[in-house]
């Protein structure tokens, strides 16, 4: 168990003049489950590997339990890692795989067996202890990789997209198992994924990264309700938030043939910033189809029926801006219909049209 601190940590790419991770600052408390999320190339895996000692810390430091890890090799950091492709030793049995780290530490055979058996019971692997990885299914191999990490009782768990090779159903199942396991064991965990659903459901706090730079580091709900910039706003939430840059008018923002009203403090913030256009963010569930007046006139492009809800993809008549709205009724509209979208109660998000920074509260 330990707390982790990234202090201005950077890492350069091998063959390019760019930074894979750029001055990352993260304070992770003991026992927290942190998720690093972002698109490909965002540096999330590199940041994880820097923690594990598999990539050099080229600038700044990373501290585990207060101790500086610069120059400390992986084997001395007491970190267990679950790899994306599991990295199981093919010539060893499941039991030997799980007990390998203990063997390296000089733990006796009997004690090793006991610890491995305990972890196997936790992960439902007891029947497979004598099999080799080649004879296991993907899901079983994933559990062995987890078991190998658990047996070590390390200070920190590092997990690098451990679910990405599983099929969708298994992924959801395993996701809950991992979260439950972590809660039970209480070990500080850093988890990397590109799937924002995993991030939202598993993490105590989530760090969103883009191009090596940290965008926001907060609890999932905070990310959802108050994204600090347009990138985070568009990344978190599925289907994505509707983001469009529109001209400001006297009491709001012009959208197609109508005006989207804004709060008073939002308007004053915009005025203070001296902006003429602004990037507006509206989540699909904030838009509803209705027949009343004053809505935004849109033409339906596609209706996606999921059973529990439907998503209507439209574009603003005349200007082509795309808007997606959520509806809880079946067959909310038909293709090429002209419908009217109204904003439900609640503020929209505003972002600076150039920097993407959040404006207002």
């Amino acid at each position: 168990m330990a707390d982790i601190a990234y202090k201005g940590a950077s890492c350069i790419y091998e063959n390019a003049d760019t930074l894979a991770v750029d001055t990352l600052d993260l304070d992770i408390e003991d026992g927290e489950f942190i998720v690093l999320v972002g698109p490909s190339g965002s540096g999330k895996s590199t940041a994880l590997r820097m923690l594990a000692g598999l990539e050099d810390i080229d600038e700044g430091t990373i501290e585990i339990g207060g101790k500086d890890m610069v120059g400390v090799p992986s084997k001395d950091r007491d970190i267990a890692m679950v790899f994306q492709n599991y990295a199981l030793y093919p010539n060893k049995t499941v039991g030997e795989n799980m007990g390998f780290a203990l063997k390296m530490r000089g733990v006796g055979v009997e004690e090793r067996k006991k610890k491995v058996a305990d972890a196997a019971k936790l992960l439902d692997l007891t029947d497979y202890l004598d099999r080799k990885p080649g004879k296991l299914s993907g899901g079983q191999r994933q559990r062995v990789a987890m078991g190998r990490a658990i047996v070590r009782e390390p200070q920190v768990f590092c997990m690098d997209e451990p679910l990405s090779n599983l099929d969708a159903k298994l992924r959801v199942q395993t996701r809950t198992q991992i979260a439950a396991l972590q809660r039970r064991l209480g070990t500080t965990t850093v988890y990397v994924t590109h799937d924002q659903v995993e991030a939202m459901t598993m993490g105590d706090r989530v760090a969103v990264l883009k191009n090596g730079k940290l965008q926001q580091f907060s609890a999932p709900t905070e990310l959802y309700d108050r994204p600090t910039n347009a990138f985070v706003a568009g990344f978190i939430g599925s289907p994505a938030m509707n983001l469009m840059t529109m001209p400001i008018v006297s009491d709001g923002v012009r959208l197609g043939n109508s005006t989207l009203a804004l709060e008073r403090d939002q308007l004053s913030a915009l005025h203070a910033a001296g902006l003429e256009t602004v990037t507006v963010g509206v989540r699909p569930e904030q838009l509803e189809l209705s027949t009343g007046d004053g809505g935004i006139e849109v033409i339906v492009d596609l209706v996606e029926e999921l059973g529990s809800e439907s998503y209507v993809h439209t574009h603003i008549a005349g200007d082509g801006t795309q808007l997606t709205a959520r509806s809880l009724t079946r067959t909310p509209a038909r293709l090429a219909d002209t419908v009217s979208l109204h904003k439900r109660d609640g503020a929209v998000h505003l972002f600076h049209p150039e920097t993407g920074e959040r404006i207002g509260d």
Binding site: E14, T18, D25, D58, L214, Q215, F217, T228, T355
Partner: protein, 321 residues
């Protein structure tokens, strides 16, 4: 909650990266460098000593007029040996033989190898056995193989070749005497076709099947698919086989020694055999050395091709860090 907004990155990043990288490279310790080089050194040193030193000596000898039969006659003659060699008509004939041998063998065995590889590319009953049978000529000790061909196959009276060809009106031809170079080539083709076949077969099997399926769906006929898809893919394998084969074939010695001893005269001698004769039967060290150097220079051309092929088209993978 920590947030950082997106600032536009100027060229400042590139400089910063460069600085970081320099600092990093400096700090990778010397000790680590030698630790990594360590396992490599024994092999490297061994090879340098055993292969380069003799060649340097050959260069030195080639500038000497030195015949073992006349001891004490060793004297520096500069490039005289090379001049003599180039003026030696037998040398020229032998050089031509060598080229014919190599080019002919390579071409024929590549073609045969290609056909065999195509036959073996599909599964059929006993394919494993067929492949095992086909690679055997390459494994047979070349001396034994040459002996085999000279006696049981090519013998004018009792040889199998004449026996098989007799229904076609071929009499008791003494192949080895009448067609020495061709006989040697038959032996070599027999020996090297499996080599070509294995390389090309590996090429065929490394070809992704789905593009063939896509072509079939698109309505391509089998021969067109072969010409447009398979052959281009195979090209680098064929090239590698031809160039590697040529390099190995330059050293052909066993077959000639065993089958014809280079004869009649030097009709079937190749450069290695001729040099061997000069050195060990004629005892003319200086000239033999000069010929050796010439062969090396000529080989370098072909070898450069081979190396480029091996490095460029095949070693695309990077070393694990």
């Amino acid at each position: 909650m920590t947030t950082i907004a997106e600032k536009p990155t100027a060229d400042g990043t590139a400089d910063r990266v460069r600085q970081l990288r320099e600092a990093k490279d400096d700090s990778v310790s010397r000790a680590e460098g030698w630790r990594r080089r360590g396992p490599l050194l024994p092999a490297l040193i061994f090879m340098i000593v055993v292969t380069q030193i003799p060649f340097l000596f050959t260069l030195y000898y080639s500038t000497q007029s030195w015949n073992l039969v006349r001891p004490g006659s060793q004297a520096f003659v500069g490039l005289q040996n090379y001049v003599d060699v180039f003026q030696d008509s037998q040398f020229r004939e032998v050089a031509v033989n060598t080229v014919i041998l190599i080019v002919g063998t390579v071409i024929i065995s590549v073609v045969l190898g290609l056909l065999l590889a195509l036959l073996l590319d599909r599964a059929f009953l006993g394919r494993g056995i067929v492949r095992t049978l086909l690679i055997t000529p390459f494994l047979v000790t070349p001396v034994a193989g040459a002996l085999l061909w000279k006696t049981t196959m090519f013998d004018p009276v009792f040889g199998i070749v004449n026996f098989v060809l007799s229904p076609f009106g071929v009499g008791q031809v003494d192949w080895v005497s009448k067609f020495p170079l061709a006989s040697v080539m038959v032996n070599l083709v027999w020996q090297w076709t499996p080599f070509m076949m294995l390389l090309i077969l590996a090429g065929l099997q490394s070809m992704p099947r789905d593009i063939l399926e896509a072509a079939r769906v698109d309505g391509a006929k089998p021969f067109a698919m072969f010409r447009e898809l398979t052959l281009p893919h195979l090209r680098r394998f064929i090239e590698l086989g031809a160039v590697l084969g040529a390099i190995y074939l330059i050293n052909t010695f066993d077959a000639i020694y065993m089958m014809t001893q280079g004869g009649p005269g030097t009709a079937s001698a190749n450069l290695p055999f001729y040099i061997y004769q000069r050195a060990f039967l004629g005892f003319d060290i200086g000239q033999a050395a000069a010929m050796g150097v010439i062969v090396v220079i000529a080989t370098i051309v072909v070898a450069t091709l081979a190396l480029r092929l091996i490095f460029k088209s095949f070693t695309g993978n990077e070393e694990a860090a």
